[in-house]
């Protein structure tokens, strides 16, 4: 968005699963009584079926709406003249996902990444099953309460946010969507996964962070959309990498392992990774924790000043996790001159981390954001800094909720991986690395994915998100995402409501 011309969103293009069959919630079976009459192929508006030589095939089971289709005239099970079709839950689907990322959330993200559209297949694409935080918060639309009808077309609603609100002489840097993509280092993910994310960020006019593993040359065409990260290991941090970007991010901590340094297993330190990080091939890399040059806000200011001196146009983002006094950390960052305070809550993260840290250390971001927002408001400095939230934001609804709790925008990582068909088996570090070719440096596995496909999948997903965010804002009677920040009156927590007031999870 450096140019003056109006930003145009990219187009969604189909990007189907890399595997033979997309994973699906429902199973469609045609038994041998089938006469291959072709009625099912004709009646199904979702194109689940394709013609076959002996009986129809079901190459796109994942487009099926399941037994709930019964209410429709085109319900194939009823329309089949010989009762040869059964539609039921897919038993393998039960194994997918976990409490936070349910099978439904995974499947709906895959669908958005494939098509760029909002899912319709009776999938709960709004909440998971974690029993708290995002999964208990609901957006409260004023439309019914005060008689206001949503006005205007969704297209007139702005999702843009400004990243530099400090009023200094540096560029304001506007992004047309209220999110950017978080750091995943080269080495932890493959170069294809990394480039897909960066290219998608460029197409969407936003940014993608490099993570702490250095700045591969392949990223250079996208310099304007890269955030380079300075983390405790200082891997691959050089003067020229700081100078070529518009945002530099200090990673003081990360939500995946708050209070602990990064860790890259020796197996993943291939010659290319070692060269980038100026380390030894095959030798495990432990980032120290913390920055031993920073034990106070004054030290922190020295860090920020150092970046500002090296690059006179860059914005400085400070990525921190969420301790008890996260509000003090945020206010300290403001006075140290940071443009962005990035709060990374404890339940997110992509990198391998000790389970004990992921579950127990630091607070979930749903608590941290309102705490920081209120504190900065109380100090009268909220308008001078951009608050970005991450750590467990899985979909557009989570994004809207955390913005309503006080963030300006969100940062995403896991969702990108899911768009690239991550299945969240949590075995990123096993054997040759990710079996699905995302978090790996193994050549054969890396080549399971090509760049155009990866880029399009991520673009598609965020186009679907953008559509959902505009719908949400329109129903809230808002014209811009910036109006939503801190509007806790647009939220309810269903644990504290009376039973009768609770409507179903899905519209």
């Amino acid at each position: 968005m450096r140019g003056r011309r109006k930003f145009l969103f990219p187009e969604a293009k189909p990007a189907s699963s890399r595997f033979r069959y997309a994973l699906n919630k429902y199973r469609v079976k045609i038994d041998n009584g089938c006469t291959n009459c072709g009625i099912c192929v004709e009646v199904c508006p979702y194109r689940v079926y394709a013609k076959g030589s002996k009986k129809p095939r079901t190459p796109s089971e994942h487009l099926c709406v399941g037994p709930g289709c019964e209410k429709n005239a085109f319900f194939c099970v009823r329309r089949c003249p010989v009762n040869a079709i059964t539609v039921q839950l897919n038993p393998s689907f039960e194994i997918l996902g976990d409490k936070r990322w349910t099978g439904d959330l995974l499947a709906s993200t895959w669908y958005m990444a494939e098509t760029g559209k909002v899912p319709y297949q009776n999938l709960n694409y709004k909440t998971g099953d974690s029993g708290g935080g995002f999964d208990k918060l609901r957006l409260l639309y004023a439309a019914d309460g005060n008689g206001k009808k949503p006005k205007g077309s969704p297209k007139d609603i702005s999702l843009a946010i400004i990243l530099n609100r400090s009023g200094d002489k540096r560029p304001k840097v506007m992004i047309p969507v209220p999110f950017y993509l978080g750091g995943m280092s080269f080495g932890s993910v493959s170069i294809n996964a990394m480039l897909s994310r960066v290219r998608a960020a460029a197409a969407l006019g936003t940014f993608c962070s490099t993570g702490e593993g250095g700045y591969p040359d392949e990223l250079m065409p996208y310099d304007d959309h890269v955030i380079t990260q300075v983390a405790t290991g200082l891997f691959g941090v050089r003067e020229d990498t700081i100078q070529r970007v518009r945002i530099v991010e200090f990673k003081y901590a990360q939500g995946a392992k708050p209070g602990l340094g990064g860790h890259l297993l020796g197996d993943k330190v291939t010659p290319a990774v070692a060269k980038m990080r100026e380390a030894v091939t095959g030798s495990a890399l432990f980032s120290p924790f913390p920055f031993h040059s920073v034990y106070s806000v004054e030290d922190h200011k020295k860090h920020v000043d150092w970046i500002k001196a090296i690059n006179s146009n860059a914005l400085v983002s400070v990525k921190v996790s969420t301790p008890t006094d996260v509000d003090m950390v945020a206010v300290g960052s403001y006075f140290a001159g940071a443009h962005i305070i990035h709060l990374d809550g404890s339940y997110g993260g992509t990198g391998a981390a000790p389970d004990i840290a992921k579950k127990n250390i630091a607070m979930p971001v749903e608590y941290a954001v309102p705490k920081v927002h209120k504190f900065l408001e109380g100090e009268g400095i909220r308008k001078g800094i951009t608050v970005i939230a991450s750590g467990g934001v899985r979909n557009a609804y989570d994004a809207a909720k955390i913005i309503a709790l006080g963030a300006d925008g969100v940062c995403l990582g896991t969702t990108d991986l899911v768009a690239l068909e991550c299945i969240r088996c949590h075995h990123c570090e096993s054997g040759r690395g990710c079996a699905r070719g995302i978090a790996t440096t193994d050549d054969e596995l890396t080549n399971l994915m090509n760049l155009e496909w990866g880029t399009q999948r991520i673009v598609n997903m965020y186009l679907a998100w953008s559509e959902q965010l505009r719908t949400i804002l329109r129903r809230l009677g808002m014209k811009s995402i910036t109006e939503l920040t801190g509007r806790t009156d647009a939220l309810v927590h269903i644990d504290y409501m009376k039973g009768i007031e609770i409507k179903s999870e899905l519209d």
Binding site: L23, A353, M497
Partner: protein, 463 residues
């Protein structure tokens, strides 16, 4: 790192195939006999390595599969599916969940701490220990880089009574009697097992592990066998009322426990007469009156109290509190009365994971005791059939004590390393300072106040 904090671990294999969350279901019928079967493309080679365990008739496929779903998605005839393993769902109970048991098995087998990618997948919060988070440090406070031994973090605690001040005589000599202390390098002792098959070999394994880890195992007097004498320095002898313990044995012990009864102070005095250097703990079931009882006993001169909740961490009461919540109350009330530092509190019951150790210490324990995880380290599935006299599915009564020692050592070493992770993130350099540091933790009931205000409205809600 000093040698006392370093535990050498080696992988100790399972005797039985693991119970895993899911299984592979692969049909033959309809197979197209592809030139290159998807099974050959398995990244983890599980189909190539599969074999049948002849004892249990279980296919290794199920435990080796890593759930990547590639074969499921790529088989042209869709003959491969995954399914939930019903056995997995049925192991343990609401508290000792299959997830906890699997994690303990992994640690006992490998000696490593559980690490995984792609963020946290569990519930947002939960009852008991899941309703709190621990703090970390950044920018405004230093952390402590304890992992890999790059910075030194002490995890040792002293068990015994502590003097608040020394008294000196006219000639400058110390006149106060200094009570005995025993030091353990990890704030954890092994407690009585709430259930187990005939336990001679099991106890032998526990004692060997306790001895290697320089900690203690609580052994009931009636379970004692002269063959354990080699480990007597790592035994906390739980005396029975009316039991007659030989003076020679008492002489060798460093620590005993006596059950809390009306005349417990007399009992303590009698033991002190036999051996003044003996550390004596009062064993007390956790209940709503524990706090006032401890206050009374502290004033009367006890050294250590061992509070025991049930297998699920609950106290004995009509409306029981969870051990962490009752302990918070006890700790704070002793602090208010200026008594807390005089005695050592060991607390246990429901300690199932490394984080529980750290969290209970934050809530006011000096050290914790654990029980069921020691059995789980030996592959116990918490089916409790032994309590009904039915034979153990993993033949715990037959364990080789040396094998048991290896498994338990691995588990506790993993717990120790995880304690370092928690303390390192907090910037804490001594576990003694972690005790009662509730300000360095975040409690669900406090944080949730933010949201409770969001509920009191009368409007329509939509997802």
């Amino acid at each position: 790192m000093p040698p006392k904090y370093h535990t050498t671990t080696t992988p100790v294999p399972n005797r039985f195939p693991l119970v895993t969350r899911s299984g592979v279901i692969a049909w033959e019928e309809g197979c197209l006999k592809c030139a290159r079967c998807v099974k050959k493309d398995c990244v983890y080679l599980v189909y190539q390595k599969r074999n049948l365990d002849s004892r249990q008739m279980l296919d290794s496929l199920d435990s080796a599969c890593m759930d990547c779903f590639r074969c499921v998605q790529n088989c042209p005839a869709r003959l491969i599916q995954k399914g939930v393993n019903p056995v997995y769902r049925s192991i343990g109970d609401h508290y000792w969940t299959p997830e906890i048991l699997s994690s303990l098995w992994f640690q006992a087998e490998t000696g490593k701490i559980p690490v995984s990618g792609a963020g946290y997948g569990g519930p947002f919060a939960g009852p008991g220990f899941d309703a709190m988070w621990t703090d970390m440090s950044e920018i405004v406070r230093p952390t402590r880089d304890g992992i890999h031994g790059r910075e030194y973090i002490s995890t040792s605690v002293d068990l015994g009574r502590k003097l608040m001040a020394l008294e000196f005589g006219a000639n400058g000599s110390v006149v106060s009697g200094v009570p005995p202390l025993v030091e353990i390098p990890t704030p954890l002792i092994f407690d009585l097992l709430p259930f187990s098959p005939p336990k001679e070999r099991i106890l032998n394994g526990l004692l060997r592990a306790a001895s290697g880890l320089e900690t203690f195992t609580v052994v009931r007097e009636s379970d004692w066998s002269p063959s354990y004498e080699e480990y007597v320095r790592h035994t906390v002898f739980l005396l029975d009322r009316g039991g007659a313990v030989a003076k020679e044995l008492i002489d060798k012990l460093r620590m005993v426990e006596i059950p809390d009864e009306a005349d417990v102070m007399k009992w303590q005095a009698a033991l002190k007469r036999v051996k003044p250097e003996l550390v004596i703990a009062i064993r007390m079931p956790l209940s709503p009156v524990s706090g006032s009882r401890i206050e009374e006993l502290t004033k009367a001169g006890i050294e250590v109290v061992h509070l025991v909740a049930n297998q699920f961490g609950m106290e004995e009461a009509k409306e029981p509190l969870f051990v962490k919540d009752r302990l918070k109350e006890i700790h704070l009330s002793l602090v208010d009365r200026g008594l807390r530092d005089q005695i050592t509190i060991i607390a246990g019951g429901g300690i199932a994971m490394a984080e529980h150790m750290a969290k209970l210490i934050i809530c006011g324990a000096d050290a914790v005791s654990c029980d069921i995880p020691l059995l789980v380290a030996m592959e116990c599935r918490v089916c409790r059939r032994c309590a009904q006299g039915i034979s153990c599915p993993v033949e715990l009564d037959q364990v080789d004590p040396a094998w048991a020692r290896g498994r338990i050592t691995n588990l506790i070493s993993g717990w120790h390393n995880q304690l370092l992770e928690i303390m390192g993130a907090m910037g804490m350099r001594e576990v003694r300072r972690l005790r009662g540091e509730m300000g360095r933790a975040m409690f669900f009931e406090d944080l949730e106040k933010e949201f409770s205000a969001l509920g009191r409205r009368q409007k329509r809600i939509e997802g």
